[in-house]
Symmetry: C2
C-alpha cells in the first residue's frame, strides 16, 4: 500500500484529501514504526508550520476508523500510531526505547479458538498481542 493507492482510497470513500492529511500519510508511510502524535506533528510542521495538534489527532482518529492506521496503547499510557500496512491482521515486536516496530507473522489463533470455545457466552470483539523489549540498536543503551 503506497501513498497514491491510499489517496485514491480516501477519495473513493468520499473523504477530502487535504495537504495536511497527505503529509501525515507520508510521514506514516516513510518508516515502518510507531509514532506519537507529537512526532507526527513535528514532522508535518516541517512542511506546514501552522498545522495544529487538533488536525493531527482528528486525522489519526479518522484514519483509525477507516482502518488505515493502527493505534497501540503502550504500558505507561503512551499512545502510538502506525500505518496499517498489512492487508490482514498482525501483531508487533515493539522497541520500548526508539518505538520502532516490526510486524510478526505469528498470531495466537489457536489460543483464541480455544478461548472462544470455552467461553461461548462471551462476545469477543478483538484482542491485543504485543511483544515488548529492546531492539538491536537500543539494547546496549538501556540505562
Amino acid at each position: 500500500m503506497n501513498l497514491n493507492d491510499t489517496l485514491f482510497r480516501l477519495k473513493a470513500l468520499g473523504v477530502k484529501v487535504t495537504p495536511q492529511r497527505q503529509e501525515i500519510l507520508e510521514v506514516l508511510l516513510g518508516e515502518e514504526r510507531y509514532y506519537s502524535a507529537e512526532e507526527i506533528l513535528k514532522k508535518v510542521q516541517a512542511r506546514y508550520p501552522a498545522v495544529s495538534f487538533d488536525t493531527v489527532y482528528r486525522t489519526l482518529n479518522l484514519f483509525k476508523k477507516l482502518g488505515l492506521v493502527v493505534e497501540l496503547n503502550f504500558q505507561g499510557g503512551y499512545r502510538r500510531y502506525e500505518f496499517n500496512h498489512a492487508d490482514r491482521h498482525h501483531h508487533h515486536l515493539v522497541c520500548l526505547k526508539c518505538g520502532r516496530s516490526q510486524k510478526l507473522a505469528c498470531c495466537p489463533t489457536d489460543c483464541l479458538a480455544g478461548i472462544e470455545e470455552e467461553n461461548p457466552e462471551f462476545a469477543i470483539t478483538g484482542h491485543s498481542f504485543e511483544i515488548y523489549g529492546y531492539c538491536k540498536d537500543c539494547r546496549g543503551q538501556v540505562k
Copy 2:
C-alpha cells in the same frame, strides 16, 4: 492470596501498612475485576472520605512495582488495575462495558518461543495478550 497474607508480605518488605493502603487492597481483593483509579478512590472514600487521588495513584504504582497489582492499558487510553491473584503469569478476558475480567489459563507461549528464536537480536522484556468483548451480562446492553 488474601488480605492478611498480603499485609504480612508488605510488612516483610519494609513497606508501611496504612489504613488507606489496607482499604485499597480490600477493594482490589473484593471482586476479581479491573478497576479505574477513580473507582478505587470512590470506594476507599466510603470509609476514608479524605483520601486523595494522589494516594490512590501512589499506592497503585507501589503495588505495581511490588508485583501485587497488574496495570492494563485499554484501547482508548484507559488504565485499569487488578490485584495480581495469580502466582504465575496470566492473561484476561476483559468486558469492555463493565470492566470485569476473568483470568485465562492460556498463554501464547509457543508463539513467543518462535518469536524469540527468530529474533535473537531483540531483547524481549514482556508481552501483552488480552481478549476484549462483552460478557454475558453486558452483551445485550451494547447500544
